[in-house]
């Protein structure tokens, strides 16, 4: 457009060959994709674990070896197949009324994952909304929301969950509500601080000088910058929600027997800890596996959503 810039563009600082190389950072060949996967190997492992759990949760009725409620008293407390006295039909053994443990864990996957994900979606929704408002507007809005957060964080989780379940009744939906209501303050705290930091940044000011509405600045300019943090926090919280569901069920406040959930299986197994170790061990392992997988995946997602880490 009629501008004579040629003399400036030739300066080495402005057009170094270094910048040209970075363009090739986007993997184009198989070997590059493999290298990328290798860099994210922990995330890939986490992703595979989660994928396996999701497949199990979705197709349990077709994959499970038996009926989770069928009691076979003759074969009660039978040990895992590789133990002495174990039966091939009950790969991970049976419980005190002869129900197949593997089947029950597989059915429990569905409930645990559902509770974990739903509770975190609820938490993220509330936490992010309040965190953004508190961080961006500050002042009275911030004081009120921060006070709420502190009250919630100070309130014992078990007590709140117990009162909620006592009032509303023990059901899947109420467990999710109880978990959601207790989990959001962590999100609000983190999002609030991040929003405060970003609110003062010049690109937010630049967005304002370009005439964008506050809602757009919050959702399009600030929120994506919080996404890496949010991903990590959410993955930790999914794991927490699964464990907390187990805890509530363990205390008899959550899923009611005979419905199988990992926590409930763990609770039932506790009674037979000394004669049938497998009853508590395998549900515990399932919880551990899910939590680990989600955390690994969350870390990898963080790396992928952060443009600074995205290259290379």
């Amino acid at each position: 457009m009629g501008l004579n810039n040629t003399d400036k563009n030739l300066l080495p600082e402005e057009s170094s060959p270094l910048n040209a190389q970075q363009d090739n950072a986007i993997p184009t060949s198989v070997s590059k994709i493999m290298r990328k996967l290798w860099q994210l190997r922990m995330g890939v492992i986490g992703g595979l674990v989660i994928m396996a759990l999701v497949v199990v949760a979705l197709f349990t009725p077709y994959l499970a070896p038996g009926d989770p409620y069928a009691q076979v008293p003759k074969h009660r407390l039978s040990p895992p197949a590789w133990e002495e006295g174990g039966r091939m039909e009950n790969l991970l053994g049976t419980d005190h009324v002869g129900r197949d443990l593997l089947t029950r864990i597989m059915y429990g996957t569905r409930i645990s994952l559902f509770v974990g994900l739903s509770a975190v979606i609820l938490e993220v929704f509330m936490g992010v909304l309040l965190g953004l408002l508190a961080g961006y507007y500050g002042g009275k809005t911030d004081s009120i929301i921060s006070f709420l957060v502190n009250v919630m964080l100070g309130f014992p989780f078990i007590l709140l969950a117990m009162s909620l379940v006592a009032v509303l009744g023990a059901s899947l939906q109420n467990i999710i509500i109880a978990l959601g209501l207790t989990g959001w303050p962590v999100f609000t705290r983190v999002i609030r601080i991040e929003t405060m930091r970003l609110r003062e940044s010049e690109f937010v000011l630049a967005a304002k000088t370009q005439g964008f509405k506050t809602i757009r600045i919050l959702t399009v300019h600030i929120l994506p910058n919080i996404l890496p943090t949010l991903t990590v926090l959410a993955s930790v919280e999914v794991a927490r929600a699964i464990i907390m569901e187990s805890l509530l069920s363990f205390l008899g406040l959550g899923i009611q027997p005979p419905t199988p959930s990992w926590g409930l299986l763990l609770a039932e197994g506790r009674n037979y800890m000394f004669m049938a170790w497998w009853l508590a061990t395998f549900p515990g392992l399932a919880i551990f596996l899910a939590a680990l997988g989600i955390n690994l995946l969350g870390d990898a997602l963080r790396d992928l959503t952060d443009p600074h880490l995205r290259k290379s």
């Binding site: 501008l3 600082e13 690109f203």
Partner: protein
């Protein structure tokens, strides 16, 4: 000067109501930006330059900030009385702004192209692909090589000078009539500074926009400005044309600033080892001193400085807020009407 006024500010006052007290950041600032010209706003840190710029766009956070003015007129429209939706249409579309820190003034999670086209989509109603084509056009305009490639890059992949160019591309994408540049070259090294200033001057010529250049750098301001206002503690202390600034400045603060600018060969010429300084520091904006705000640091303060001085008019392009000027002017018979105070400014306006 029979230039058409693009932006005219009359008696702008910006206050921040903090728990420690009321911070009087801007205290009755009046100036004009003529169409197609550049106004330089000169002053040290904390003298209200940036707050003035923010007040024009009504971007001072409220609370704690409060803007009041007799008028901020842009193209015949009073910016202060516009609705929030209307002032948003002005921002970015009619008045663009660039900042000091090119490192942080671009959003790290979006590509350069995305960020430039965002405003085009909002203000011009373009669709995504047209806006991206326009973005490439803007990058070409600001002299970024291989713009087709750069639009797909993230801010961290660009150097500081490149980022400032991209920032300028963003600010001018909707062809604003006024570009406010808040210390645009402060964070850049000197060679890049010169390039950016040249670019801005070229763009001004091509696009015919006016600029308001906020800086504390005398070199920068003399390079690009037509007129200059010197600010001190939220007041305009001297308003002068760039041709008379060096040598013709009358206010002791402006003179002090000029004297504290390092000049090559100064030690050799003057025999002085130390650079001149203005002793003391800016008064607290919470409890402004009575009388002339500069009197505590002024080498030529006298009895009359206990009263607050108005802006004295020396000629149409030169006003000074100093009692000494009045005394001298009367002696020399330079000016017939001595006073052109802020209150005069206010009464000249038609009542609302």
């Amino acid at each position: 000067m029979a230039e058409e006024k693009l932006l005219s500010i009359r008696n702008l006052k910006t206050r921040f109501f903090t728990p420690e007290g009321v911070v009087k950041a801007v205290n009755g600032v009046s100036f004009n930006v003529p169409k197609g010209k550049t106004l330089g706003v000169l002053g040290e840190s904390g003298c209200g330059k940036s707050v003035t710029a923010m007040s024009i766009l009504r971007l001072v956070p409220d609370p704690p900030g409060k803007i009041s003015a007799d008028a901020i007129t842009f193209e015949g429209r009073d910016l202060l009385s516009l609705s929030p939706a209307d002032i948003r249409k002005i921002r970015g579309n009619d008045i663009g702004m660039i900042f000091q820190e090119p490192m942080t003034s671009l959003n790290p999670v979006y590509t350069i192209g995305n960020q430039i086209s965002e405003a085009l989509i909002l203000h011009r109603g373009l669709n995504n692909s047209d806006a991206l084509d326009m973005a490439i056009e803007q990058l070409k305009l600001v002299g970024i090589p291989a713009p087709e490639k750069r639009v797909r890059e993230y801010p961290h992949q660009l150097s500081g000078g490149m980022r400032q160019r991209a920032m300028i591309a963003m600010a001018i994408s909707c062809r604003p009539q006024l570009l406010i540049a808040d210390e645009p070259t402060t964070a850049l090294d000197v060679t890049i500074q010169a390039q950016i200033l040249d670019l801005m001057l070229e763009l001004q010529e091509t696009l015919g926009m006016a600029m308001m250049m906020i800086t504390h750098d005398l070199g920068v301001i003399s390079e690009v400005s037509d007129d200059i206002v010197v600010m001190y503690a939220g007041q305009v202390v001297e308003s002068i044309s760039v041709n008379t600034l060096f040598g013709g400045a009358k206010h002791p603060y402006t003179k002090g600033l000029l004297a504290s600018n390092p000049v090559m060969g100064r030690k050799f010429k003057t025999g002085k080892k130390r650079l001149n300084e203005i002793v003391g520091s800016v008064p607290s904006l919470i409890s402004l001193p009575s009388g002339c705000l500069f009197k505590d640091r002024c080498p030529i303060a006298f009895e009359k400085c206990k009263q607050r001085p108005p802006l004295f008019t020396i000629d149409k392009a030169h006003q000074v807020r100093c009692w000494k000027v009045e005394a001298k002017a009367v002696d020399d018979g330079l000016i017939e009407s001595v006073c052109n105070t802020d209150t005069d400014d206010a009464s000249n306006r038609p009542a609302e």
